[in-house]
Symmetry: C2
Subunit: 305 residues, 2 copies
């Protein structure tokens, strides 16, 4: 699966992923009104507004980008209606040729991780027939429970040609609280990186592994160290844009082959029309603003590299 | 909310929680057949079988127990139909007076954790009306991202009188891979425990905090240390029964007041009818076997204490 993602990145000449992390305050009033009128001002109406918002942004950007990363929390906040729209979004993005990275950050004890893995990336067998419940291409995974919490995901990746990105050094301000603590002379995130190398060695797909890592753009120095430490590991880099990561910070997340990293922007793209920089766009053409923001992000990363 | 759980534990004289973690192989054939016939042999049919299975077990045990702990992975594995049954299970258990601990192990960067927190424990406001999307009483939370990943859950607990259990030392075999690593002279899980104390101090509810901890029954020595280290923290103890934890191992998870811990059993209760020990029960009265297993578990824990 990582090779499929790389091919799309090369084809679109864009190592970027658009984070589909909608909140109600990003959604233009006319979409909310339309959905509340049709479905009611309730969880269903809100979820349907998320769907229309997502669809417009995907329609306006899919030719420019290799991948999207829906953050499932933003859908779970609307209950089962939201989860239904998460699934609809996954399916729609795949129908537009996009690679879908489900930002689900799951991770549990072995048998439970296995259930998450088949649910999000694999297949479930019912009376001899095979079903793909959520059918994402990649999922993000939390490593706190250790190998037996991650291995079931790797097994499902191997069985179904899928991939994962394991949290190594996250983009948030307090990520260092545990992740930076020194163990045997190096920070915890480097120990996790060692394990990512180990887990990934069993799931190679060309030059890179289906087991990737998450390293925040907000920590460029750690990014440089982790890039060197995990040469065959693709790095998913959140934190660009709204969280403070800049194009110039991203250079060291890439390998010399120009590959090895994919940069996520969420708010910076999907809520671009609310940004002063894109004041020429109104809420009616919010998706055009998102397209412009994608082009600007591509240019920013290109110029930095 | 922790006081509500404690009151239920005292009332039922049972510091136990039944893990509603159904897999298809636990569900009797006659239920599967009924649901596949009505809904099709598909994800919907499987999810509806989970529902009937859960409902029968809840009906047969709710008078004996204070709480249930549905593991959401086991529902997500059936896609959106599964998540719908998760929600139906939460609602049904609450209607039977049970405290519901959503075993969701969520955790993300701040704004995303906030979405999970309102989705699972809090309220979402839509056009001035308030909705409770999943409406669990407690949720389990993964601490790998640090304070700003946990704090939004604590805020929602305070706003809505709910609780969380933060993963400290998990029950699985490889939990030590990262959690046991020594930092400044003590294992990572003790550092996490220090933070649980800190987070919990802002959400006291009587003698205990709404911020609890997860410590596996499979690690009784660590349980004893953590019990002393977190005197005001309720400990959710998975790993009893099928994972190997025994009644005698559990003593040190409790405080001297006989409170402070709640022991989970999943397979041992819900799949009791498949256990040789309960061979007198057939698949037709699987729920009666679960009731017997609950009574046996209560007796086992009582005798150990």
């Amino acid at each position: 699966m990582i090779q499929k993602l790389i091919n799309k990145i090369v084809e679109k000449d864009a190592p970027i992923v658009v984070g589909l992390d909608p909140t109600l305050k990003f959604i233009p009033r006319f979409i909310l009104d339309e959905c509340y009128e049709e479905y009611g001002a309730n969880l269903k109406g809100a979820a349907e507004a998320v769907w229309l918002f997502n669809k417009a942004i995907v329609d306006a950007t899919y030719d420019l980008i290799p991948a999207v990363k829906p953050q499932i929390a933003m859908y779970e906040q609307f209950g089962t209606d939201g989860v239904e729209v998460f699934k609809r979004t996954v399916d729609y993005c795949k129908s537009k040729g996009l690679v879908v990275i489900g930002d689900v950050k799951r991770g549990d004890i072995g048998s439970t991780s296995a259930a998450y893995a088949v649910g999000h990336l694999g297949t479930v067998e019912i009376e001899g027939k095979t079903f793909m419940p959520f059918d994402e291409d990649f999922a993000t995974v939390n490593p706190y429970l250790g190998t037996d919490g991650v291995k079931p995901f790797v097994d499902v990746c191997n069985a179904n040609d899928r991939g994962i990105f394991v949290l190594v050094k996250t983009s948030n301000p307090s990520s260092g609280e545990f992740q930076d603590r020194i163990i045997d002379g190096k920070p915890l995130y480097e120990h996790v990186a060692d394990k990512v190398n180990e887990w990934g060695s069993t799931s190679m797909d060309g030059e890179y592994s289906n087991v990737g890592a998450v390293v925040g753009a907000t920590y460029p120095e750690q990014g440089e160290i982790l890039r060197k430490k995990m040469p065959k590991v693709y790095i998913l880099v959140p934190g660009y844009g709204a969280q403070g990561g800049k194009g110039a910070d991203l250079v060291h997340f890439f390998n010399k082959d120009g590959l090895g990293a994919i940069i996520n922007s969420s708010r910076g793209i999907i809520a671009a029309y609310q940004n002063e920089k894109y004041a020429e766009f109104t809420d009616k053409n919010f998706a055009d603003a998102s397209r412009r923001a994608v082009l600007d992000m591509k240019a920013d990363i290109k110029s930095a590299m």
